[in-house]
Amino acid sequence: MHRLLLADDSEAVRLAIKSLLQRLAPEWEICGETPEADEAVRMAEELRPEVILIDLSISGSKGLWVAKTLKDTAPFCRSILISEQHPAILAHLQAESGFICLAKTQLASALVPVLRGERNTP
């Protein structure tokens, strides 16, 4: 089983992503979830997941901070930023930051291929 950590303020979104993965990518296990940025960093360091899904706006606007921090403290963990922003804006952010950025509107079609390493862009 592959392990994934879920960091998003919204419980409804976390639930929806969980059922999406259970249905479409059952080989991925959610090893932990949190609505809070500092907690996300702590849990990633402790639980050592392969991937962390981070809401760009978590804890106000700390998604990018979580990804940057984990690049140093948990380099084994791949960060994927997810956001309500328009895909075109997120393409800019991905080019600029080097982190994979997915629009939440595209999660249903893009998340599983990205997790499986079949593609790195939405």
Partner: protein, 254 residues
């Protein structure tokens, strides 16, 4: 004292001067000169005293007025400073309120719609769905996406997208892209990297300045090109927005 003696003395002096060329000596006595002095002092000092008093009075009035002008000017400067401070506070309060509303929209409506859209997508993957139901769910996904787009648009109008999450440079690039599309004006950007962050207030203010400047270029300049440059110079943040009709150094903020 009458001025007649004076006239007499002057008249006599005049005669003596007239005789000068014949070697005559001035026959003036000390008394004559004393009389002349007294006469002149009496006749001329009265208007001089009055004039001096008038001048002094005018000077006093002038000083009074100058003082009044100084006080009023200081009051005006003070009022202007307060007005600027109030205006800045108003702008900050307005931006804070907009930021809060945008956040509220994102956290509540935006997230709920995201969850609905994801759940519908999971439903779509059910193999047992009839074609009608699948079409209905597809339609609902589309509607949800549309609603998410609307929420995003309102949120962007309230607060610049990516400003909080990824900083000023990223937010400006995003804004410029949309602006170029809407206005057909090509904008060259020279912006620092994403890691260069300023205080939230300064980032919002700089963003609004660029927004206003580019809007003015679009409305008034007629230029088909513009440029934005944001640098640090000697402890200052220097923002330069230019078009190719007239160059405006927009602002320097310490």
């Amino acid at each position: 004292m009458s001025s007649a003696p004076t006239l007499n003395v002057i008249s006599e002096a005049d005669e003596q001067i007239a005789c000068r060329f014949e070697g005559a000596r001035l026959p003036w006595t000390g008394e004559d000169i004393l009389l002349l002095r007294l006469t002149f002092r009496t006749t001329s000092s009265t208007p001089f005293i009055a004039l001096n008093e008038q001048i002094e009075s005018l000077n006093r009035a002038r000083h009074g007025l100058e003082n009044e002008v100084r006080i009023r000017t200081a009051q005006l400067v003070d009022a202007q400073t307060k007005l600027q401070e109030l205006s800045a506070q108003l702008m900050l309060a307005q931006d804070e309120e907009r930021r809060r509303l945008a956040r509220e929209l994102h956290d509540s409506t935006g997230q709920t719609l995201t969850a609905i859209q994801l759940n519908l997508s999971v439903l779509m993957s059910e193999f047992s769905l009839s074609p009608e139901n699948r079409a209905r769910i597809e339609q609902t996904v589309e509607l949800t996406n549309h609603a998410m787009g609307e929420v995003r648009t309102i949120s962007h109008l309230l607060h610049p997208p990516m400003l909080d999450e990824a900083g000023l440079s990223m937010a400006l690039r995003t804004f410029v892209e949309g602006f170029e599309e809407r206005s057909r004006i090509a904008v060259a950007t020279d912006l620092p990297g994403m890691s260069e962050r300023f205080s939230p207030e300064m980032e919002t203010a700089l963003f609004r300045i660029v927004q206003e400047c580019l809007t003015n270029v679009h409305r008034h300049s007629g230029s088909k090109n513009a440029s934005i440059r944001l640098t640090r110079e000697n402890g200052c943040v220097v923002l330069e927005v230019a078009d190719f009709m007239r160059r405006v150094r927009a602002c320097t903020i310490r």
